[in-house]
């Protein structure tokens, strides 16, 4: 019978991915509520450092899987290795962090095992011995509680930022580090890798800006960006944007906030015409004060905003620019 919980630890070049510790918080919570033992699994080639770091946390064991074919991440090798590990250990749950790497292999892993994979969860609750997962649909606008009607192992990934890495409990003594043997000799790696690279050095470091005016899809067309620029200038703020604006090249890529752009926490973040899709929110939710201007009063951005104006940004932004200009001229 399946038992225990297995947490997938992501590492790159021997460096632990912090979001694995966030997923660990969820995994520790599920473990203590269900009475299951929590183990972690690390894949790679030189992973001793990551394994010891993880072993300092409150868990039962750290399973290491080392193979030349795992030196660089590929979906073929990861699916093959984890499939063997999961079949050997037969856990009830496999917990992952919903990173780009996990998104690249875990659905295949689940399919190759014939198991179900609940992606991008933001929470869970335990009912008896069953776990009900919370995940968001419609890009964060609606939450759902999801029940699994399938046999173990059940795979579940947690969204970055759902739990705080510093809440991962430390263990009283280091957990045992053990080696799981896998046989990857017959595994054919179909992906040929080139070196990773960054597009361009980021010209603008928005993380240091105290005031940020950010614009989203609600601005409708490139000509209207100027209106936002005038507001930013009046405030002495940096201008930033959500992904669609940079995709359209209405503002340069280095102005993008969110999971694929920069992460900021200014004193003031003014979100204009930004609905608050989770990919954007992860890059700005720790701002000290958040103001949202949006025509949809139920846009998720208002879930994290301190102040909100529901209305037409094309009326409100010019009024705001005028008011800031007026106040500044008076104040000086």
């Amino acid at each position: 019978m399946s038992q225990g919980i297995l947490l997938f630890i992501e590492q790159r070049d021997g460096v632990l991915n912090r979001t694995s510790l966030e997923a660990m918080v969820a995994a520790q919570g599920i473990a203590s509520a269900t009475g299951e033992k929590l183990s972690a699994v690390v894949l790679g080639k030189a992973i001793g450092g990551v394994a010891s770091e993880v072993a300092s946390k409150k868990l039962y064991a750290v399973q290491t899987v080392q193979d030349d074919k795992l030196a660089e991440y590929t979906p073929d090798a990861y699916v093959a290795a984890l499939k063997q590990v999961i079949q050997k250990l037969d856990p009830r749950f496999v917990i992952l962090s919903h990173t780009y790497q996990v998104r690249d292999f875990a659905p295949r892993l689940a399919a190759s095992l014939g198991k179900t994979f609940i992606t991008d969860c933001v929470g869970f609750r335990v009912e008896g011995s069953e776990v009900v997962f919370t995940r968001q649909i419609f890009q964060g606008k609606i939450n759902t509680d999801v029940r699994v009607v399938a046999e173990a192992p059940i795979l579940a990934s947690f969204q970055a930022g759902s739990y705080r890495a510093d809440k991962a409990e430390a263990g009283d003594s280091p957990a045992a580090i053990t080696v799981v043997a896998v046989d990857l000799t017959d595994v054919q790696i179909r992906t040929q890798l080139e070196p990773k690279f960054q597009e361009a050095k980021q010209a603008v470091d928005l993380s240091q800006a105290p005031l940020i005016v950010a614009v989203g899809r609600g601005i409708k067309s490139q000509e209207n960006i100027e209106m936002i620029q005038r507001l930013a200038e009046a405030m002495g703020a940096e201008i930033a944007a959500s992904r669609p604006i940079c995709d359209n090249e209405w503002l340069p890529m280095d102005r993008q906030i969110g999971s694929s752009g920069q992460t900021v926490s200014p004193k003031l973040y003014l979100a204009i015409g930004i609905s608050g899709a989770i990919q954007h929110v992860v890059g700005m939710k720790n701002s000290q004060t958040i103001v949202a201007i949006n025509k949809d009063g139920e846009a998720p951005i208002f879930d994290i905003a301190d102040y909100g104006i529901v209305g037409d940004l094309f009326d409100i932004v010019p009024a705001l620019t005028a008011e800031i200009t007026r106040v500044k001229s008076e104040g000086s």
Binding site: Y100, D104, S112, T119, R147, V148, L268, Y307, A319, L320
Partner: protein, 260 residues
């Protein structure tokens, strides 16, 4: 080069969503639908590849009757033909594994070099159908793709990693790619395209045609409750005419929040 594009129809992005009477999904009355955004980019990429390298673009959609509207839009933009998985049995397929199973069965006799899907849908956002499909069809895969360069028998793609990092990888064809939004500029259907689409084939596939029953497509994940997220902050909403609201907001920011 033949490219299959998996398309999903979803509620329009700016829809005001309310919880339905059963408390398990949205209220679908008064909702308008459109092609899921990332799928629209996947279609666009397929059309561009076809324009460069020749071949055929085949659209495959699982969905109710209304989904035909998105299929027609894809044909009007330049796809050559479509496969529509459509009957009440397919309605039971509400998780990725079930949808992927149905689509892989429907593609059994198709010849393709590439399959494109969006990286995730705008409704459920599972981000799984493409990869499960790849596993069933034994295809190599790459996700979150930003650029596609076919080479002799292979495809070189630029993948987006996290925090501004990228990586080119090369896969033998046939292969499955999940396409990132924003990879290209979407086209509009032309009048000529709309007229031409009327003659294009939309092949309807029933569950029985591909040997599937409702039992085969039972979801393993079931929504027991849908609800609006709890706010993590109490938002103070500022009302009034634009000038009035602007003045109130500036006052709050200066004297309460003290951030300007």
């Amino acid at each position: 080069m033949n490219i299959v594009v998996c398309l999903k129809q979803v509620p329009k992005k700016d829809s005001i969503l309310r919880i339905g009477a059963d408390g398990k999904w949205i209220d679908e009355r008064d909702i308008s639908y459109e092609m899921s955004e990332a799928d629209a980019y996947a279609l666009e990429e397929a059309l561009r590849q076809k324009e460069k390298h020749g071949g055929e673009v085949i659209v495959v959609t699982l969905g109710p009757e209304r989904a035909r509207q998105s299929i027609k839009e894809a044909l009007a933009k330049g796809a050559d033909r479509a496969i529509h998985l459509f009957d009440s049995v397919f309605d039971t397929a509400t998780d990725s594994a079930a949808v992927a199973r149905a689509i892989s069965a429907a593609l059994k006799d198709e010849k393709y070099d590439l399959i494109f899907t969006g990286l995730q849908s705008d409704d459920y956002g599972f981000a799984q159908v493409g990869l499960i499909l790849a596993e069933h069809l034994a295809l190599p895969s790459a996700t979150i793709v930003m650029e596609v360069q076919p080479e002799d028998g292979a495809v070189r793609v630029k993948r987006e990693l996290e925090s501004g990092w990228f990586q080119w990888v090369r896969l033998p064809m046939p292969a499955l790619l999940t396409i990132q939004s924003g990879i290209n500029q979407l086209r509009y259907a032309t009048l000529k395209g709309i007229m031409a689409a009327k003659k294009k084939e939309i092949r309807e596939v029933k569950s029985a045609d591909i040997g599937l029953t409702a039992d085969d497509l039972q979801p393993h994940q079931v929504i027991e409750r849908a609800y609006l997220p709890e706010k993590t902050k109490r938002t103070e909403f500022i009302e009034g005419k634009p000038a009035e609201a602007a003045a109130k907001l500036v006052e709050k920011l200066r004297f309460d929040a003290r951030v300007i």
